[in-house]
Symmetry: none
Subunit: 416 residues, 2 copies
């Protein structure tokens, strides 16, 4: 029985970078393992949604797992919440949250409030926010649940009658501009009420945070105070058939960030928790790859998500991106001999995050598949331009699971 | 801020031509500028509608501008009418018209009545047709508006209650066969009535033309008389969001023929009028390209339409097609240094018009994009077979605007 090992380099694709003499990070990186897979396997070029369309990581992953995001994507919030371990029930409205810093004129000056918090600070923050949740719950007769994640991140779930996900957040998505009000996106009672509840909740959280002891400490230490909560990504959980049933796979996932974990949980993946793997720049790829190889013994489909390639793209740091690609390549090399013989390896990206653009783009991304029955095409290198010449041609995100399951022998015939 | 310059070679793609030693006109033409853009940029292969589907110029342009013709295409007539400067209101039914020649047995012997008319002839024709319009308007209580364009071409608009675009024309689309009757395509009162009005109108026009002085003159000079009006392309205007709003672009168009101008106007392009640019074989490409470069100073998106490549395809004249490609290439070269630095140049075709077939085919056509962030792929030549090896892979017409706007930084993210 064959199995698949899917390695995803988040935002790994790029455009020619001047400081790399117009190579992309994937072209410039020394990555003998990925290039060996390209030599021995076949490649193609992939548009996760459609050519030119700029994907979010959420819509891109849904498409790569075979779920049309035009049908199944109803906001990022629920995936974040599920990924943090919160329960999200049908009808619940969930949000991604950031701790943020505003100045005395309500101008957002740091969308991450310095990013780093001690365990003690987080405890205090959680207790403050939970207090606010309870007060608002009492007043409006809805339930609010907050959970803090890593660094500045968290998730908020709103549960009850007459609520709606058709609201904006208060996050202006950039600094130097005022914090927004939560605003209904549709003129319905539910959307208006949800906006009202959230605006009051945010004001209350801000009042409580302004008086918090830990913020005094932060100010003294010259750190930006966490004096607001920026919410975004309002959404409800889609009704979705798990990947395990749709493709008859035992599926496991290794991911560091809540969004991807949440998508994994919602789709029925078993999640492997690795303490040193949190989607940060110092992620422990060796342990992650060892764990993946272990999981390949008992799962048909193991998905490993690499986050910091995207983070370095957002930072505009080409050297950082190269370093991550090289570390991932080494980690794969270290475990390569232990990968079961009948394994198909897939390597691709969910989108490009060009260091010049510092955001996701709709450029084509490289796609690679290696394994027992994959022909050896002429592509010798895993990178954007070379993969475009490969055997698989031009494919879309929604094609990927079909291609994988085709080689795993897991697909029903369409017709006879 | 970047901008895009879109050069479209209508019907420019082709099949291997025996007299060109099995090269296509694009392969055989000396076009150093286009080939330089191919060397420095990236290419792909494009199916405007879907592989194998034979596009009209109208459906192909709608798709290339991002509008699914299956949704937005409701006949060619309204675009022709708008392109000639006629007003087309919601509910109006519009037609493309030709002056034509039938013999005494009603057999069509020239679908263009010799193609060429003097200004005096056109004046007389317009006044005859407008007379007929008024008589028919009076009889049926509908409004008919005719406008003559260049050569044999014109447009007719029908306005009023209980009319329908679900009728055929009277144009048999070839010679040697009888002129048709306009026939309802659906069994509705509106379609039956529309057919009746138009058949009576055409008979009246024919009666008037048979007695016209200018036709006597033409017969004396051995020219085919313009003794009928062939109508086709019945349609109504689609409800359509302008390209300026959909893609947040300031858009300008340079085109010689009414159909493309009409599509441009309907989609909200600003049209640049160039006297020597009428879609004919002696089009003044130098002036058109100079104008395009001027427009690039103040527009995000400048579209330049090259018609005679298609005309030579319909005529089966490979050398003629090559000559146009080479003249366009030279015109681009002449202005190249004046194109703003941040410009993306796109070159493609709306369909192939192979000289052997003398009509549009559903073959793949070459696609090229050149500009600041476009990687340099291995393709060294702008032509059908080479572009198929390019970085952009295989794309559809509907992808083109997304790809352009992706590089212009004009697209919202789908998801987060």
């Amino acid at each position: 029985m064959s199995r698949a090992f899917f390695i995803l380099l988040d935002g790994g694709a790029d455009r020619p970078v001047r400081e790399l003499y117009y190579k992309t990070p994937l072209e410039a990186a020394a990555k003998p393992m990925f290039d060996r897979l390209a030599c021995e396997g076949s490649c193609g070029i992939l548009y996760t949604i459609k050519p030119g369309v700029r994907p979010g990581s959420d819509t891109a992953h849904l498409a790569l797992f075979g779920y049309d995001p035009h049908v199944y994507y109803k906001g990022r919030g629920p995936f974040e919440a599920v990924g943090l371990g919160l329960e999200v029930r049908p009808g619940d409205v969930a949000f991604r949250t950031n701790l943020g810093t505003v100045d005395e004129n309500n101008i957002v000056i740091d969308r991450r409030a310095g990013r780093y918090f001690t365990q003690e600070e987080i405890k205090e923050i959680e207790s403050i926010v939970q207090e606010a949740c309870q007060e608002i719950s009492k007043k409006f007769g809805v339930e609010l649940v907050y959970k803090h994640g890593t660094e500045h991140r968290g998730a908020l779930v709103l549960r009850g009658e007459k609520i709606s996900h058709e609201v904006t957040g208060n996050d202006p998505h950039k600094t130097g501009v005022p914090q927004q009000k939560v605003t209904p996106l549709r003129d319905t009672e539910e959307a208006r009420r949800t906006a009202e509840i959230l605006n009051e909740f945010i004001e209350l959280v801000m009042r409580k945070l302004s008086k918090a002891r830990f913020n005094e400490e932060r100010r003294k230490q010259g750190k930006p105070p966490a004096n607001t909560m920026l919410i975004r990504g309002a959404g409800v959980l889609p009704e979705i058939e798990p990947i395990t049933r749709r493709y008859k796979l035992r599926a496991a996932m290794i991911a560091g960030i809540a969004l991807i974990k949440g998508i994994g949980k919602v789709l029925g993946f078993d999640l492997a928790e690795i303490p040193g793997y949190r989607g940060s720049r110092d992620d422990d790829f060796d342990t992650a790859f060892s764990k993946a190889v272990e999981l390949l013994q008992s799962y048909d489909f193991v998905f490993l998500h690499v986050k910091p390639t995207d983070a370095y793209g957002h930072d505009g740091d080409a050297r950082g991106k190269i370093e991550i690609i090289e570390r991932v390549d080494k980690a794969l090399k270290r475990v390569f001999e232990n990968i079961p013989d009948d394994t198909y390896i897939v390597v691709t990206c969910d989108h490009a995050t060009p260091v010049k653009i510092r955001d996701h783009t709709g450029d084509p991304v490289p796609f690679l598949m290696w394994g027992p029955d994959i022909p050896m095409d002429d592509v010798m290198k895993f990178c954007e331009r070379e993969c475009a010449k490969g055997y698989f041609g031009t494919i879309l995100g929604l094609d990927v699971m079909n291609l994988i399951c085709n080689y795993l022998g897991k697909l029903e015939k369409f017709g006879e």
